[in-house]
Symmetry: C3
Subunit: 209 residues, 3 copies
């Protein structure tokens, strides 16, 4: 039996949803939000980037509102965080790794959809980046905070996503985009993001140039 690439992308997409939903729920609990705030932050962190992607690609109803399994996975993951949060807080490094994995998965699925729809290279990479980082930005704006994506060690968040999305767009342009490339690109994003956190990498600072 052959598993189609579309099916695998769907499964990876749901994994990314769960990971980002958990990160949204952890944030909501830390900020002492109530259960509505927890479900909302879980949903927007997990699916906000995909909704932006679908709006930018002018697709029909965004997949997060078309296929209820996405919202269900986000809500259940968010609620599952409540009784397990002490465990999660104690092992925060794995959470950051999961967050990095979500970044990689969404950059790959976003760039794949954009490239397959025929977007030019630079816009397709940008759609991948928006898919991967948009949920976090909406999460922070709804929580009334400055988006983390531009600050401190969150800085090296956009660059791994852009590299992974670029790999997808180049592979698509060369006619060599397949499941192996997708998984490799998502893994590479995850590893670069984790290394950036571990080694404290920074992007160049224009005001020092």
């Amino acid at each position: 039996m052959e598993i189609s690439q579309a099916t695998v992308l769907d499964v990876l997409d749901l994994c990314g949803v769960a990971v980002f939903a958990a990160s949204g729920a952890v944030l909501a609990i830390r900020r002492k939000f109530d259960v509505v705030g927890l479900l909302t932050l879980a949903f927007v962190a997990a699916l906000g980037g995909g909704v932006l992607r679908d709006l930018l690609l002018a697709r029909e109803v965004p997949v997060a509102f078309d296929d209820p399994s996405y919202a269900i996975v986000a809500f259940i993951t968010g609620l599952a965080v409540v009784p397990t949060r002490n465990l999660i807080e104690r092992v925060w490094r794995p959470v950051l790794v999961l967050d990095a994995a979500g970044l990689g998965l969404f950059a790959v699925t976003g760039a794949t959809l954009a490239a397959e729809q025929g977007l030019a290279a630079i816009p397709a990479v940008m759609v991948g980046v928006v898919t991967a980082t948009g949920g976090g930005v909406i999460r922070d704006v709804l929580a009334g905070e400055a988006p983390q994506v531009f600050q401190q060690d969150s800085v090296l968040y956009v660059i791994p996503a852009a590299l992974g999305a670029s790999a997808i767009v180049i592979a698509h342009g060369l006619g060599g985009l397949n499941l192996g490339v997708s998984i490799f690109a998502a893994l590479a994003v995850t590893i670069i993001r984790v290394a950036a956190l571990h080694f404290g990498w920074h992007a160049p600072l224009p005001h020092r140039i």
Copy 2:
């Protein structure tokens, strides 16, 4: 003569627009915004939720930009608040009741449109909630504040909207959605919201579980 359900929904929609526009204008005056800020907050508070709804449902040009009567009602209501604001400030409880009525009306019209377009139950309820609460979120973000919807006594804002939208989606699923059900659901949202304010109800707090 029979009045169609669509006509009644249109009238209820315009009532919700006026109510939310007034709440946006009151906020703008309290924060000493100028007349441009007043008109903008009136417009986004009144029509931001509907614009988000129309974007999520992938409809054509959002109704707030397609039918000028919505913007006109929002702007006139916003300006009408200026000379009457002392009266409005003195009777702030009625303003909260009107705001609760707007919440109910928009939850009902949003969920109705989503269900009639064939969305699954959970996404249709969420579209109702976004329609009802999205204007307030955009209003607060534009005013540079943390969205009220997750804070303090505003917490029980999403839950009544979700209950009302659920009633609409269930009635639609059972084939029993009609004008009476719509008005009943909007009234129920209004009453639950007002009761939540009056009795100081809270949603469960995950960090205390």
Copy 3:
């Protein structure tokens, strides 16, 4: 050889993109953002208003994601600001004039697209205003600041844009919209905006009425 109005509008549009991208990059450097933040603020300041316009007009993929030349102009302009920023800081008045010119260009192109798509007068003017001011609002929200558009001397930002957009919509309604009118309207917006800054004009304050 005749140059079509569409071609001229495209060129004006790219000039507006460059001007707004430069203002976003200057802001990013002042706030000590890294190069990713600089490119992001340059992009959203330059193209955020146009993306909102295309979403509201229910066009296909927003032009900023369809035609890569927009993103390329925004990114190159943003990077070009880095070595020249001391010059730019010293001559900040020209920057404000360029910003005012971008405001005029985007108000004109946004209102033209909306009117030609058949929107009613008030919504068409509003689309012009959103096109002209939306990028700045998204830029400020992403930078974690209250949108400048409602504050202090930024107050008279919406009004010139609305006047310019109104001139376009009226000319379109009278069948007299042509290149001369477009340039005149964009220039008028620029001059009113610069005069408002120079003379410290304010819009009426409702809380003092």
